[in-house]
Point group: C2
Chain length 340, copies 2
């Protein structure tokens, strides 16, 4: 295996110091056109490509950011991942992926042990089982941006949509259609379920605003936001004497699972039960019927997250932790209004 071309090799060929080659390669100012050209020619001739590792070691940074998500096969996260990678690449950063499987211990270790010594310069984190305590215990030197769940305590940035408002809007949509018994699937009434609880709050507010009672027995909690959980919860609801005629699902996957159950019992969506989801994943656009949903601006969430993280990384004194709101909108499809 032949040795790779180094800065020094180029320097020798161009007849300058290796430091000058470095200056040219990195586009630093104060290099005369003449030397620049000479060096460039040498670079091209030898096919020099900088050794990223050495550069990073010398600079004390890794040029990589980590994206930590609970599940990669969840469309919402893979769509987000895609945008994060693009945004990071634009700034010359690579993205390392870590999947936690929602394991709280794993999540904790990740932010506590910090940057694993230069494997990454910062983390974009979408936690699931992380409580406030774990966040407080974290490595304070690690630049951190959090998506979704927890709100910022001022030492990191948090980006998400306004869950309460969005959920209220979703519920309003169902009530506007004249539905009488609106259920909710996805509540998580425990410490790590902040985001879910915000959705439940929106669900309640929508009822209160029109003076309607909230049927507490129609609020079903689920451990995860996936299809099987949605399917099971829906089965539960349909077994009631007085089954719902509409469901607000806390994710599109839950909605797809719910629809699966409804249809397999010979009922119709939306005639018998109207279904609304959350996340606007591609699956929901092509399912049968297509799913009405709350669509968060994922592209904006991703780019903002990367932007804030890079800012954090490059700042000498950490900037204040911001609480950022990404826009969302209601997308109405057949699962609530039928064949238009």
């Amino acid at each position: 295996m032949r040795r790779e071309v180094t800065l020094r090799d180029v320097a020798e060929l161009a007849g300058v110091s290796s430091r000058t080659v470095s200056n040219v390669v990195n586009g630093y100012a104060n290099v005369t056109e003449r030397t620049r050209i000479r060096v460039q020619r040498a670079v091209d001739e030898l096919g020099y490509r900088p050794n990223v590792l050495a550069r990073n070691l010398a600079q004390g940074r890794s040029g990589q950011i980590a994206l930590v998500v609970p599940y990669l096969d969840t469309p919402y996260f893979s769509e987000l991942l895609q945008s994060v990678i693009r945004a990071a690449r634009k700034s010359g950063y690579n993205v390392l992926i870590d999947q936690t499987d929602g394991d709280a211990e794993h999540e904790r270790g990740f932010i506590a042990h910090g940057s694993r010594r230069l494997l990454f310069d910062g983390v974009i984190f979408s936690p699931l089982g992380l409580d406030q305590q774990a966040l407080a215990d974290r490595d304070p030197a690690l630049p951190l941006v959090i998506l979704g769940e927890r709100t910022s305590d001022g030492t990191f940035d948090h980006i998400g949509i306004d869950d309460v408002a969005a959920s209220r809007q979703a519920t309003d949509h169902l009530l506007d259609l004249g539905r009488q018994r609106v259920a909710a699937i996805g509540d998580q009434p425990y410490a790590t379920g902040e985001a879910a609880q915000r959705r439940t709050r929106g669900f309640r507010e929508a009822h209160h605003a029109r003076g309607l009672p909230v049927r507490e027995d129609l609020i079903i909690s689920t451990p995860r936001f996936n299809r099987p959980d949605g399917a099971q919860a829906m089965a539960h609801l349909l077994d009631r004497e007085d089954p719902p005629d509409a469901v607000f699902c806390y994710s599109d996957l839950v909605a797809l699972g719910a629809i699966h159950t409804i249809v397999s019992r010979g009922l119709r969506v939306p005639e018998d039960v109207a279904v609304i989801g959350y996340d606007d994943i591609e699956d929901g656009r092509f399912s049968n019927p297509p799913v009405t949903t709350i669509s968060p601006d994922k592209e904006m969430i991703a780019t903002t997250a990367v932007e804030r993280l890079l800012l954090r990384i490059s700042s000498a004194t950490p900037p204040p932790g911001l609480e950022l709101r990404a826009p969302h909108r209601l997308i109405v499809r057949e699962s609530t209004i039928g064949r238009g």
Copy 2:
């Protein structure tokens, strides 16, 4: 920002040389129990964690492998990604993701410019637009494992299921059900469509084996294997005077798109048109109706790919390029046989 603890700090505290600390940390042989314990204590006390970057620079490797896929939001790839990450982590490797968007130029650059100088030690590649030429032009020093599309020329490993056999099996299933006019969606009759063409071959073989004519006009090609393409192709087919009563789709996404179209025209699956997919993604299990599919053993594909790649990386002389077959099976669901 305070300096991180280094090997030397530990060495000083333990009263040994830094090299000895390195030996302990890396579990090298020939360290007496006494020193091992002493060093370990110092490591724990200072909370030392090795600097991965420095280690890699010294060792001339990066400890990272790259996974290059066309699209990350395609469930098949995100499910695969998940398994690859797990397998790599088990061996202490990190995974860098790259999404090519199926852009041939991007794909070419990736394997031609090689390891981008130590950013990664090897690549698991699922190409889309890569022709044999590009493969030949690649950096020969870069350990490479290819998934799916192209067959091995002996300089890299290739892993995939037996597409011809699987496709034949899928088509057989439709014919066994007594379907008369079986269509195929997903052919790609051009240089970069090897995998698609193998599926078409299986489709043909199934017909030939029973002496049935292949209706060439029912073989529709699509640029991608996604929902929109499937939906559009199906619309095309249904516009025929003599529409098909069964479709073999070259991916589950295509199948889901096709079902979407069929249903939105008021037809029923499988009564009017039976649909079979390929890949066995989760969406297909919960769709309405659930999709019959060819299920490749993804876990095995991922672990084998990682295993072979790491072997390649650690070998002084490159091992011969293997052509590996992962098992697959037909999973029958409602989209072909209806409600049991």
